[in-house]
Symmetry: C2
Subunit: 258 residues, 2 copies
Amino acid sequence: MSVETLKRKAYAIIQTKLLDGELRAGDVVSEQALADEIGISRTPIREAIGQLQIEGLFDKKPRSGTVVRLPDQQELCDLYDVREALESHAAGKAAPLLVRDDFNALASLHKEFKDLARELKARRLEYLDEAMLHRFFSADVSFHLLIVRAAHNARALQIISEFRVIQRVFEYERMAHGPRLVENAVAQHGAILAALKSGDGEAAHDAMAAHIRGSKEYAMQSFERRPRGTLDIKERPALPPDVALHLENMRVKNLVKN
Amino acid sequence: MSVETLKRKAYAIIQTKLLDGELRAGDVVSEQALADEIGISRTPIREAIGQLQIEGLFDKKPRSGTVVRLPDQQELCDLYDVREALESHAAGKAAPLLVRDDFNALASLHKEFKDLARELKARRLEYLDEAMLHRFFSADVSFHLLIVRAAHNARALQIISEFRVIQRVFEYERMAHGPRLVENAVAQHGAILAALKSGDGEAAHDAMAAHIRGSKEYAMQSFERRPRGTLDIKERPALPPDVALHLENMRVKNLVKN
DNA sequence: CCTTTGAATTTAGCATACTATCTGGTATAC
DNA sequence: GTATACCAGATAGTATGCTAAATTCAAAGG
């Protein structure tokens, strides 16, 4: 593969800051400041930030500043839908392809959820503390990516991997991480694992879809108290300009004909 | 939204070159040459090329050159799988959301396929000529994106839109565009449209999935004569480094325990 | 004729310089 | 006291300069 370029280095550093919560939603980032901190020039920083912006992590106002973007409800909803489609598809494909090592790893991760649930109960905590939160996130991401990887689809894996960062930013910011979340994780990941073990692709597909729909609903609760009507008028996303043009031409042509 | 920046301009120009077949697989692109041609400096060109590389359209060898990438069989296969998952999901969601205008547009596009099939037969051509090819591609892309847009998922639309470019590069390069392709398009798009008209999400989902699987098989024929064994040892794609590390730690911990 | 080698050229990665624009604060006018 | 106009600083967009690496090609050697 390619050499380790400064752009990659910068990208990795910034992504880590996001994953660790060192950079949180709303924080402003300055190209110059980052460049000084890492000890390189602005150029590779710019390229890294550019990529992260494309991935939806930064909001960039020209000549003004760049801030860490907090995904809104619509965006998060979209993201979970894409995950549902891709990951359930992947789970179905992965079912017959998993090997012993995979099951061992998945079982370990499942056990991690159970440990966390037990610990939470034993310590009578209302929410996961920072350390537990980190364990929870790591296990969750690993569980899902392991399955997607087994489906042998690099593109899908890349897309899902990308999502994990933006989702993490959101989770740091808004989600309540109480016992219900952990208990759901235990039950639903357990169901997925069981379906995979039985080698039943369709069951794995459905279990994964159900789990992600559940996670979505859980995440959506963070928005419950929002002003009504903000989202009811869902605007359709815009088509690429050339496609929009093609459709418009076709519409006009038809109007003329009639 | 953002101002029209030179980066965007450069991106649009290069993408258009790819879509129009002006840049084809294997062609080398030089930052300097493009900069001179467009009349701007290398910097925004670099950023645009960088984005297109992330999207999988360019292969960039450090300090050597950038070439238009021809997706290999594995990659194309992955891409169709992602499309199958996302677009069938989208079709299911879109079914109850389509409005009259959408059906009009979809019907026009379907008619375009029928026209092409008739024309092909009338002129006794073995393959679509350049102009017909262009009409075919445009109609196909529009048909699919229209449906995805109706599902109200900006992220999914973005992903699928991105794919169309890489797919186009491949189609220009390798695919045979004969009557069977067009007839399949007529039949399968017809089936999708019918399912959507009936408002039956599940039927639309299945019709879309079947269509994309069909397209995939058609595309895969371009590789039939390839050296055997090249793809049988499918390597698993790599996990992001932090996730791989987490799994490794967990594995080691378990080994120690036992 | 083929191979090797090395210099010239081209390439992209990175650093730096410049500028239009935005932001925030302050002073001034009312 | 409030609002406005303006100035200073900061920011990202873009241009340019520099360098290391890779490619190319021709000349030298076999």
